[in-house]
Amino acid sequence: MRSIKDYADIVGNETIEEIEKLGSYLNGKIVQNINSTPVGGGVAEILSRMVPLLKEVGVDARWDFIKGGERFFEITKKIHNSLHGVEENISENDFKHFLEVTEENLKDINLIGDIIFIHDPQPIGLIKAKDKNGFKEKKFIWRCHIDLSSANVKTFNFLKKFIEKYDYSVFSSPLFSKKLKIPQILISPSIDPLSDKNKDLPDETINEVLSRFKIDPERNIITQVSRFDRLKDPLGVIDVYRLVKKHVDCQLVLAGGAASDDPEATEVYNEVIEKAGGDKDIFILNLPPISNIEINALQRASTVILQKSIKEGFGLTVSEGLWKSKPVIASAVGGIPLQITHKYSGLLSRTTEGTALYVKQVLQNPEYAKQLGENGHNHVKHNFLITRHLRDYILLFLKTGYPQMQDTVYL
């Protein structure tokens, strides 16, 4: 188990001291996180790292889950997709079932926290507890990890009735939010620099991974790490590679997963294989979800990293690439422009041809590539590491103890 002190070498002891002191102001308060699952998915991953760190700095952080049967989670999956703008048929009966399961959870869950921190739409209805006797003093926060910018109106309006009863809402990007009557706090997600996916690796590990996949370490490597998903445009990445290869020698690595229970992912994976057409310099790596060291090694071995998404959430793979001091060329979509300042900490592109041009520039100008990578690393270090995320969460919890309109708090 990692300790908060382990991060001092990266962000400085003074930053850790500051977080510990902040945490001390929450002594005696219980912060109860509630989501839908203890494992799998980004929220569980964040909480599994965040809750122990909060505890270590003196915050009595708890983590509970709601219950729901297969039908409930099918409905919440539809709600999730619909909030992302995907066409879904959610019936009145579905909404009714959602509310029934919410009522059951309200009876079962012991809302013991002084601050109840609800993650995403599945447990959103627990806010109904606020009307009960003895709950008036509790503060309720809704943390939205989803991009709501193109949310289906009917689905959003169903949730809005709950959202606006919370004391605070939290979004990952200004672009992901909606107009709401309650305060909206902005907290970006983060990467963990000490996780297997991001920690420093010895050269032997990197070389071993390259050798295992028969990738030549002496030649340029262009890499995109992402699921085999049309929205990540893996076919477009192959087009970019071919445009670049006309002028500069390179290899292409497309590393990601194609879960067996996702028929579309398998379909996209097969399309990618077909488009690659047996090119020996294209490496299509369908990796199991536990391949964090492999992903880390591939990113570290890369000459340039791409994230040519058509649509993106926050796009933390960009921060992962930048953290490794690599030049990252990514589409200007979702949360990516928050991570890359064009021509300073990476390159933002909008077309296949533009992406290819930037790749050629970076491959042929190693000093420029190095500068972009260094600037990107610094930007991530100060803005997208878990220590900043931890500090923001503590500040958020502290804020609930003061009037909403109070802009300055003297601790």
Partner: protein, 217 residues
């Protein structure tokens, strides 16, 4: 002989939590309207948060308004004009805001055909909740002061160097006031006071103050 202060320098720090206001602009006219309706906390956020978020880099446009005008609207001339408004010339955010309004209005009255951007390129008006906290560290001598300075975050430097302008008056910072009044070192105080924090990075500013103090130890 080392001077020992009667009153120590107490190091505080200042941390912020950004907050969305739900108000946004898609063109210059909406930006102007938003600025007119914005309270001081919104103007302050958009003119200062970059110092913290990008404290290791000298930005080409040192505030969010100028950055958006240059990089999203493509109005480079106006952007440069807004960038170059010297914050030190204004005693309050209200005065600075009036100057912004004056310049934007003048530009719009000359050229009303400015670009309207897509919703995902909008300017989001934001503010921040601010938390001020003692670090528990205090210095009685210049040596102690310098040693502590090396081991505090840039948020603390920010508090004592930027926020002080609003507490103490323009051109005044906590460091130089204490060094002058308690350590009786007016030359050092003068050097620190004259640093322009809006045109150097926070990291550089911190290093420069440490360098100056070390020469007097």
């Amino acid at each position: 002989m080392e001077t020992i202060a009667k009153y120590p320098f107490k190091f505080y720090t200042r941390l912020t939590l950004p907050q969305l206001t739900g108000i946004y602009a898609l063109n210059l006219k909406e930006l102007l309207e938003g600025i007119k309706n914005a309270d001081d906390s919104i103007i302050y956020y958009h003119t200062h948060h970059y110092l913290i978020q990008h404290h290791y880099v000298v930005p080409d446009a040192p505030n969010d308004f100028a950055h958006w005008i240059i990089h999203t609207l493509g109005e480079k001339l106006l952007g440069e004009e807004i960038s170059s408004i010297d914050m030190f010339n204004y005693t309050s955010m209200t005065d600075y805001k009036q100057e912004l309004i004056k310049r934007l209005s003048a530009f719009i009255s000359k050229d009303s055909k400015t670009r309207k951007v897509e919703i995902n390129e909008r300017f989001n008006f934001m503010k921040a909740a601010t938390f001020v906290m003692s670090t528990g560290k205090e210095a009685y001598t210049l040596k102690e002061f310098s040693d502590i300075l090396k081991n505090i975050t840039i948020f603390s430097v920010y508090y004592h160097f930027f926020e002080s302008h609003f507490r103490l008056g323009p051109g005044l910072d906590d460091f130089s006031v204490w060094i002058r009044s308690e350590l009786k070192l007016p030359d050092l105080a003068y050097k620190i006071q004259n640093l322009d924090p809006y045109s150097v990075t926070m990291d550089r500013l911190k290093t420069q103050i440490i360098k100056y103090t070390e020469k007097y130890i």
